[in-house]
Amino acid sequence: MGIPEIEDAGCLLCFGYNGADSHPIVARRIVRGKQKGMKIICVDPRVTETARISDMHLQLKGGSNLALVNAMANVIWNEGLADIKFIEEHTNGFDEFLKVIEKYTPEYAETISHVPAEEIRKAARLYATTKPAMILYGMGVCQFTQAVDVVKGLANLALMTGNFGGPSMGIGPVRGQNNVQGACDMGALPNCYPGYQSVTDPEIRAKFEKAWGVPLSDKVGCAITHVPHRVLEEKDETKRIHAYYIFGEDPAQSDPDLAEIRETLDKCDFVVMQDIYMNKTGLHADVILPSTAWGEHDGVYTCADRGFQRIRKVIEPDPGLKTDWQIIQEISTAMGYPMHYENTEEIWNEMIDLCPSFKGATYEKMEKYGSVQWPCRDKSMEDKGTPYLHKGGKFATKDNRGVFYATDWHPPMELENDEYPMSLSTVREVGHYSVRTMTGNCRTLRNLEDEPGWVQMNTQDCERMGLVKGELVKILSKRGYCITRCLPTDRVKPGATYMTYQWWIGACNELTNAKLDPISNTPEYKYCACRVEKIKDQEWAENHVKELYDEIRTQMGITAGKGDH
């Protein structure tokens, strides 16, 4: 489905997705949908903006997603609300699926999710009986060790109710970053060439070998979250990683368990960082290559609903800089694999001719239509791309049939305990982006929200601990600690804490748990155990935060701009 279609859905199941902070313009569609009478079911441990205007808010306990999803499927089936015709014509694996969800009665799910059984029933009925029904999910689903299981669980709900193959329905991961969809499209993945063509498929590999003129490896590569293990703990010498070429990323800020990442970068023989800003990763890099920023180069981004859209050079960059692709091209040539492209369109045309589903998305088409949603297979101007997938219930599987898949719920990897009695989850700051090197240098965005950020805590917890709004507190986990300001709110449940992840001082990734989903390799950012401690001497704390902040800046050689807070 496309973003514009959100406001025409009959029902929206918003599962672990906070549009207002992650994508205000997508939240705009949700608000407009509500005005048009759309029913909203919001599943989130916090009272998010969507929850606030929802018809039903299932405020589940963090880490209980799959129990709830299986229970909704259980209700839909047992109350005869499934679309039997669609299931028979377009899907496989329904019977095994039924066996697994059998025990997930709403009563059982209530014990895990703390959502009343009756609420689960009502929500399942509302979803199943209001057509068309759309599911949006975000990091609240993906950043768990059961991420893939829950995504498949949500897909089951859509399959069971025939909510595929038409507008304003289906299931949509709202991709967080401006070009994360594009990076995946381009094959910056250990198991895929561009266009999601598998590296282990001999025919595909042969095609790329012919195109690029060299033999290619058939071994699936290393995921970014496995790098620490492959540097620090890998015994097998042939598997150890000795060089790390980091381009447009800041793992020392955005990876979980930052202490481990810093050690990884220090122990790795050769680290290259190619970025527009000095950042925490740069403190550990052996070579730093300065590239042009957004606004200083041309190219294409893919937005969350598969739309290819042009980015254009708005101002001339500092002459001493090179674009990312020029740098990569020159290094490749110096290493003996010559690359000589003149501009991004030349690279783009090479790429789309290697990817059947992108073949028709030319620069010319983007210029004319503004946005081209893939698949767009035909270069002629008539093929304007595909607003939504699986038209007519045809799926991208061998037999075009959707597959049911269900499995049992298991708790997050690290639960609250005596030493760390509260849970911590990472969340989004609306006015800042990713590791904040861009927005942190925008004057008015910095004015709105600055170091050391906040930890959202339930008002009763704060009263019990004698904490008031704005007070600096220390928050610790097994892996580390950081200092941030306390924000008492009734929007979170007792025992739970929430922090945004882009602060240098309030760096919650010092605390997060690096345990991964076995399939997607995504870390469990949304759940770890932590402890909050009151800091008696607030004056010391305020100065200490300033000192830490200035210390990092001096390490990075920053002199101008006090940047005080």
Binding site: V468, K469, G470, Q538
Partner: protein, 186 residues
């Protein structure tokens, strides 16, 4: 949140009966620092110098006292530099005050009076024997246990200590709730 603005005490003439308990309490609490005063009036050996002033007017009466302005005219006009800001409150140092009366004229509220200055139980004499005076204005009972004495002693709760920032937060929430009720105004 760290306090950034000065608090101040404000009266309500619909409750005030003009009993001046506030003035006496104000004097007693402040004179205890350098003029020992007992519990009864009989032990007072120095003039009563309050820092708030019971004022009668057409519709009734109420005490008037300093607002601890954020851009204080008295502080800005005091050429001697006897007025300064300590923990967000505007404080006059009686030792430095030379009685030039500029602050009285600058203050739009008339919250400052020139009163005799007493130390160690007796009036402070000047070089040629005249009694020393000082600009007397509310210091929000800085350093006094329990906060402003006038608020505590008033029999009719006619005096209120205002914390502007905290109260603004609460008022904004009420205003937001009002917006909830008027959203279908068309």
């Amino acid at each position: 949140m760290k306090k950034n603005l000065g608090s101040f005490v404000v009266g309500d003439s619909t409750k005030c009966t003009g009993c001046k308990a506030c003035e006496v309490a104000c004097f007693a609490v402040h004179s205890r620092q350098n003029n020992p005063v007992g519990k009864t009036v009989g032990t007072v050996t120095v003039p009563v110098t309050p820092k708030l002033y019971l004022t009668r007017f057409e519709q009734g009466c109420m005490p008037i006292q300093c607002k601890h302005c954020e851009d204080a005219p008295c502080l800005n006009v005091c050429t001697k530099g006897a007025i300064s800001r300590i923990d967000n409150q505007v404080i006059v140092d009686p030792e430095k005050c030379i009685g030039c009366k500029d602050c009285m004229q600058a203050c739009p509220f008339g919250a400052i009076a020139l009163l005799p200055y007493a130390k160690d139980g007796k009036l402070a004499a000047q070089a040629m024997g005249e009694t020393k005076v000082f600009a007397s204005k509310c210091d929000l009972c800085a350093g006094v246990e329990g906060g402003p004495a006038c608020v505590r002693v008033c029999p009719h709760q006619a005096l209120r200590l205002v914390d502007p920032e905290a109260e603004a937060e609460e008022k904004k929430i009420k205003a937001a709730e009002a917006l909830l009720m008027t959203k279908n105004w068309r």
